[in-house]
Symmetry: C2
Subunit: 362 residues, 2 copies
């Protein structure tokens, strides 16, 4: 297979120790060896989540944990607000609708972050909103939200705040406990440097209170079942053993560096990427950019889809196209997790060359 430089916002490249861990002989999950790994992983994940709340691991894509953050805490016809500033906000809305919730969508122009005042306005108009669904980093636009203020506003109106931190975790600072974020959802294939296949959810006391009366149906994503199993350091269903074993390796790497340094380095790489992009004469799409990825507007006169294809086919460099309404209009370069500065630099120099070639003489 041709060499590839993976700069997509999930999946992201795997460190060597992850690949080694995935290749180990399989162990049984109802054993002391595995239980010790499981305990260590959950504790280390809490550091990444910056929480002492309960935290659970599902075998699923991140969407599974998003579903869990809905079905475990609500009852049919409950009122919720979903902030929609891109594809993943839309997804929260779709799940809420699929489960028959009274779903109020709060649309935000793609590329912008939701102003806390806009949420406040909606919550003033609509009484009895139980939960607000927000996104830390909206992967489709590269926007980072002010989760601290959105949480305050939600709490001021008696609602819990649920955040999709699937691509934002360990890239954009998220202080779950000190900000009082009630539920945080994430996934394995972004800044955690693992393959896709695991999702995570942290739940605070207030959310557990809501869970007691929640009547939406669930089984695989039932958190009370997970909580009960966790008392014996077990999971209700067979876990994706090699992924959990490999997760221990990346969490060691993260712990060694510390969250402050992880965020700082990610912010620096994001900043230098944005500067370089601007220096190339290109425009940034996100008004409030995330540290996880940079969304770049495709310049006038360039075929955005073709540009992404050229990077892939000619250079083996994988950046992501725009999704949904942004198809062809932006491309996205990730700089989270195990992605290296030299890879970003290579991508940018190739971009410079290709764009110059396309626009020369125009």
């Amino acid at each position: 297979m041709k060499r590839q430089i993976l700069l997509t916002p999930g999946p992201t490249p795997l460190p060597a120790e992850v690949r080694e861990a995935l290749a180990r002989p399989i162990i049984h999950h109802r054993t002391t060896v595995y239980q010790e790994i499981f305990k260590e992983v959950v504790e280390a994940l809490k550091e990444v989540f910056q929480t002492r709340n309960d935290l659970f691991i599902f075998t699923s894509s991140g969407t599974g944990a998003m579903e869990a953050s809905i079905v475990n805490f609500l009852s049919p016809e409950d009122k919720v607000v979903v902030i929609v500033s891109g594809k993943f906000g839309e997804r929260f809305g779709e799940i809420c609708s699929a489960y028959g919730l009274n779903t109020i969508l709060l649309p935000v122009t793609w590329g912008e972050a939701c102003p806390p005042e806009a949420l406040s306005g909606v919550l003033k108009q609509s009484k009895d909103v139980k939960a607000v669904y927000a996104t830390l980093c909206e992967t489709s636009t590269g926007v980072c939200h002010d989760i601290q203020r959105l949480t305050q506003v939600s709490h001021d109106h008696g609602a819990i705040l649920v955040v999709d931190a699937i691509s934002g975790l360990a890239a954009d600072p998220l202080l779950t406990d000190s900000w009082g974020v009630d539920i945080v959802v994430s996934g394995s294939q972004k800044a955690l440097m693992l393959p896709p296949g695991l999702s995570f959810i942290s739940v605070n006391a207030k959310a557990w209170e809501m869970a007691k009366g929640a009547r939406l149906p669930k089984f695989y994503f039932d958190l009370l079942k997970a909580k009960k199993a966790w008392q014996k350091f077990d999971s209700p269903f067979t876990p994706a053993i090699p992924l959990v074993v490999a997760l221990r390796e990346t969490l060691k790497r993260i712990h060694k560096k510390g969250m402050e340094k992880i965020w700082k380095e990610c912010a620096q790489l994001a900043e230098s990427t944005r500067k370089s992009v601007t220096r190339l004469g290109l425009s940034l799409f996100a008004k409030a950019p995330s540290n996880a990825l940079t969304a770049v507007l495709v310049p006038q006169g360039i075929d955005g889809k073709q540009l992404v294809r050229t990077l892939r086919e000619k250079y083996g460099i994988w950046v992501a196209e725009g999704q949904g309404e942004l198809a062809g209009k932006i491309f996205r370069i990730a700089h989270m997790g195990y992605i290296q500065k030299k890879e970003i630099d290579l991508c940018l120099s190739v971009l410079e060359k290709e764009i110059a070639y396309e626009t020369v003489g125009q």
Copy 2:
């Protein structure tokens, strides 16, 4: 880590090529390379399922596909019959209840297979049963069910037959299309020789018809979403890429041998295991034994849990304890997938020694 011989009915040992495939650099799932693998895997799985029906892969444990086999085909209060002859039959019942179905449990003595006449009796009494939930190999008891006849009986009464073939697939013959089985569910960590993390479901035309009107809520396990994505050789959510890549390797191995030979060899290993167990003076628990595993009654005067622990701690041989009401009363030796005869033989010779030691002088 100490050497281990894994003879549990999931997870099962991994062939070398699976471990190698898991350790490869990750590839993006929206690429021609991955799509080609995905197509190949789905087609090869259909051979294992013995079907030309639609077949889908979820990132989840087998339970996720069990849930999918319920939420996609039924509406609240729909009447279903669940055959309960062990822990996994119970699970089908729990999922049906969690989703508010009118659930009729058909209890069968653990260790026995459900007589088709018993199902027929229940279906005669209860009109308008939409679906019957059955198990091919009930992993908790080692029993194999007569899915062909249970399907006939279900069809005679206008119900579809859904089978949990999680541990039975590629061990006990299952002729999905020629028997007319409507929905088949399976998982990766049994005879398919993979780690846990993938689940599978096949769906025939009659079941799709039911899906059209099904009103149970779902999102992550929504098969219409999966079907739509599959038209572009895509999945609705990021798949567990390395597991799918590794699955291609085991499916090559299976295809090379052919299903007839896979079943035959598994049956021979099961038969020789049962004979050896009997020769040791031990009794078989399952009246209709599966080829996937052998459930052995713990003899009088022996502490079953201690015996299993001794095998683990003294010899590194992992057999499974009894589950639920069978805890301490049976142990289970798997002989599916990549498990080798020499490993079973070693286990049996160790068993002979340990049991003789325990019972001598009694």
